[in-house]
Symmetry: D2
Subunit: 305 residues, 4 copies
């Protein structure tokens, strides 16, 4: 098996895309598994990428020599042109979502790729509690002054956004709403965007990533946006409506919202199927592309329900 094949991934192929193995016209999504003891060799590419962990823990990504632990709910951006490799140090397989802008860069012929070292060092195979990137960039509102701590390429230098923080931020928004103040997108709908602490902008130049929490019984207002999104049901269950179609979703489901199709979600999550008692949706989209090119449009319809 060639080196490039050592990553074991199942790509989502949108049947609306004429046989191309892409989730949307600009985005690639795959479920990637790594077996115990397995490595994925080091390489780098211009494609922007991320991992979002669905199950398991103990694998880590080594980015520029900095080992980053991965655990369920963690979001790990991988900005283009950084060296990276994976290693699974646990006895169980792990599963995560790989998201990349492969179709965009393929179509526009922007892509470059290079192989790295065959082996990562022993020091890189340890799993520290916090990566160096988190120690430098993981303190809210505090940026290191050192030039050596600044990223050399576009995209976030913070290599892990931990589930505890995401979960707490969402819970905080809902608590503030209950206290009578703003902070949620709409009643019962909390949401955060993963951002690059250097710029406050999207975590990756071409991919927007968000986490939405819809409390049991709430329903989001239909929104139309130019650009396509991939959603993953991280926890809970409910009904989603895309255009004129509705269907039930539950933990582990993935679905796509095409450009300019109205999307809404109704939460039926309960204590038995959700840790948070809510419908927890992980979302990524190509919105930064549309905004950078000034092609973005949004229309939020009144929630007439």
């Amino acid at each position: 098996m060639g080196r490039g094949g050592e990553r074991r991934a199942i790509a989502l192929a949108n049947p609306g895309l004429n046989g191309r193995p892409f989730a949307t016209p600009t985005l690639w999504a795959a479920i990637q598994y790594l077996m115990p003891g397995e490595n994925a060799p080091e390489h780098r590419h211009t494609q922007h990428a991320f991992r979002f962990v669905l199950e398991g823990e103990g694998v880590w990504t080594v980015v520029g020599g900095d080992p980053v632990a991965m655990r369920r709910g963690d979001f790990l951006p991988q900005a283009g042109w950084n060296w990276h490799a994976h290693h699974n140090a646990t006895r169980a397989p792990m599963a995560w979502i790989d998201g990349l802008d492969i179709p965009l860069q393929y179509i526009t012929e922007a892509q470059f790729f290079e192989f790295g070292r065959d082996e990562i060092s022993e020091a890189e195979q340890t799993t520290p509690e916090r990566s160096r990137s988190e120690r430098l960039w993981g303190h809210p509102g505090l940026a290191p002054l050192a030039a050596s701590a600044r990223p050399g390429t576009p995209g976030s230098p913070l290599l892990a956004y931990r589930w505890e923080q995401t979960d707490r931020a969402l819970a905080d928004q809902l608590a503030i709403e209950r206290e009578g103040y703003g902070g949620t997108v709409e009643p019962g709908h909390a949401a955060v965007r993963y951002t690059d602490p250097v710029t406050g902008q999207d975590v990756l130049p071409t991919i927007r990533v968000e986490f939405h929490r819809v409390v049991r019984g709430a329903e989001t207002a239909p929104v139309r946006e130019t650009g396509s999104s991939v959603y993953t049901v991280f926890d809970g269950s409910g009904t989603v409506t895309v255009g004129d179609k509705s269907w039930s979703v539950s933990r582990g489901d993935l679905f796509v919202v095409p450009s300019w199709q109205p999307f809404s979600a109704r939460s039926q999550a309960g204590g038995s199927d959700s840790d948070s008692g809510a419908l927890d949706l992980f979302r990524f989209s190509d919105s930064p592309v549309f905004e950078a090119l000034k092609l973005n449009r949004t229309l939020t319809e009144g929630n007439t329900k």
Copy 2:
């Protein structure tokens, strides 16, 4: 005594500024005290301001109806044109540094001022552990999506940068340096900049705020910059050199570095005079003014020592 006089502050008057009660040509610095039970009534002004707590705890600032607790080492930005008031709920007086861009706005005739309510509500006199601003904006790299959570005026929506985070960020940088990696400004010199999470830029449009930690025995390379700075020795002791003058400093001292004067600091901090075993310097400057107007210049001299 008029309403405006109810804030008890001792302004630093730089003798080089021809009798004007300013710390530097653009910056105002004052030590403000609030006695037990005392209030400072609500007002707002276009001047950008901050508080940095030197001693005590228990006072809070109410910003836009959001009470924010204050404790030693906390940094609290107060972007222009937000309503704010103070209340001291403890039995002890409190002391903090007030920093503002009063001279700049006075000279350029940019200032506006309005009185607010005479009394703040009872709900605003409670002291929650975390302000709403911290619950919305205090999670590293996570931005709330809600329009209602976005600030209406320039400057950081995060109203408190807690000492625990600052202290830990500095300790992390020094630990990474000891492990053999970059992350510090120079050997033994860790530093963070307080940033606006919305933009990643300076916490206030006209004032840069940083915290520097110099380990015992280390000395920083002389740096010249256009623009003026005010330094406060938060902890520890050492020797500072500004231009061709040197002097000893220790906890509580304030001093000014004028434009284009080379500045360096040597740490003599030890276990008996510093919690961190280092010289801890809080700094604010008018650098964003120079950068916005493209008048900034910096020259770092080789540390020939």
Copy 3:
């Protein structure tokens, strides 16, 4: 014939693009003809477009009710979402290049389209010497203050860049070079970029447009860039090299430079085949897309000749 078919255009279909009628992965190029007395009805679309006149004069474009005359060598940008129509008032057919970002907007599903009025008014069928857009925005370095003169959509409000100006700008650069000063890209190679006077940036958010003049005997250094270009030989003749292929070109030829293929041109233009005695190349590319997404790379090789 339906309304949409009333534009008579011959699209360039790049054989490397699997049968799609596109010039490059992101750009559409067509030669459009309008017969005497013919109109093209009013419509608008989100696609950014331009016209560059190859032959004839007397046609005009009506943009937002402002009639703009068209003559050989004129460049007429048509930023997305502005109403526009054409009318040919002369006795001769006219030919121009239509350039659009159709493939980009098609692939990303960003496109919107609307029909406008069936007929344009009689006042709009006159041909003033200068359009209102030129009278408002055509004075170098002078911007109108009026809000009503500001464009409502992204892209240049200047609707015509006249050949006299382009020709003179190129001649000026070459004259300055002969006087011993800089100003040309390299010896014998003058070039201008069409810019939006509001921003100084590219004339359209997704399309870069330039005009290059290479004097007889000169050869440009090979340049590699991410992104694709379409070139038109406006005047003169020469040899172009794309990757490892070279071929002769002369007035009226069109060719494509794919992403990351080195490109150079050698001028063999003389008095008999060129008004300027030089190889005059009109170029458009998708470079702004790559720059906005931070995917741009450029490599200029030493001209080893």
Copy 4:
């Protein structure tokens, strides 16, 4: 007489500024005369500056070795840190307005100054019809591609904005208004802003420069802005109102509008006192400083007349 004194200038000293020889808190304005054959030696400074010619012609400024002719009505920006000198080749004295941000840079301690060559070369003492800067940057909407043509410092690379262009742009706006379209600020009030063609922004980083033409009988609506302005009556006559004071003005008068004072002008210009039959006002202000620091406010009152 020392070298620095060889410039013969009469500075405007605003009596409201406590004896400082400044026109406004941030701006310096002076009338400068150069006698026949006189030179002003080469120097450079960080202060941004400009010249606006009131009378005469034949002098030129040499900027970076590029001689620029000066004639009545011409506007010549001089961005900071560029070498420059003057020479008067005619038999008559010349008069122009010098505008600089001296007070701003003095107060903020941002200023640097260096002397240049004692003599300028003979080649620099010729007066070409168009400077190299105009040949490179004076074609509307066309930017040279060459790196050597790009300015190395902030501020416009176009060194002369000729009166013919300014005059025509204003006449064009008024003609478009008469044809029933927008384009003027308000009825009978045309205005242009001098801009940097590289950015489309203000011609100098700290100084905004505009030219306003008010037709006979028209009156401008009162406007309040943060920041101070200096006006010169280039031609015509009228009545100006600043705050609650009004007075008559005519050709050659200078006056100041302080921060946040409402300003309006009524034109009484006629054929006998104005080439254009209008009140022609040249204005410069410190607005870019306020905008860069996000301290700008504007209030346009209804013209109740």
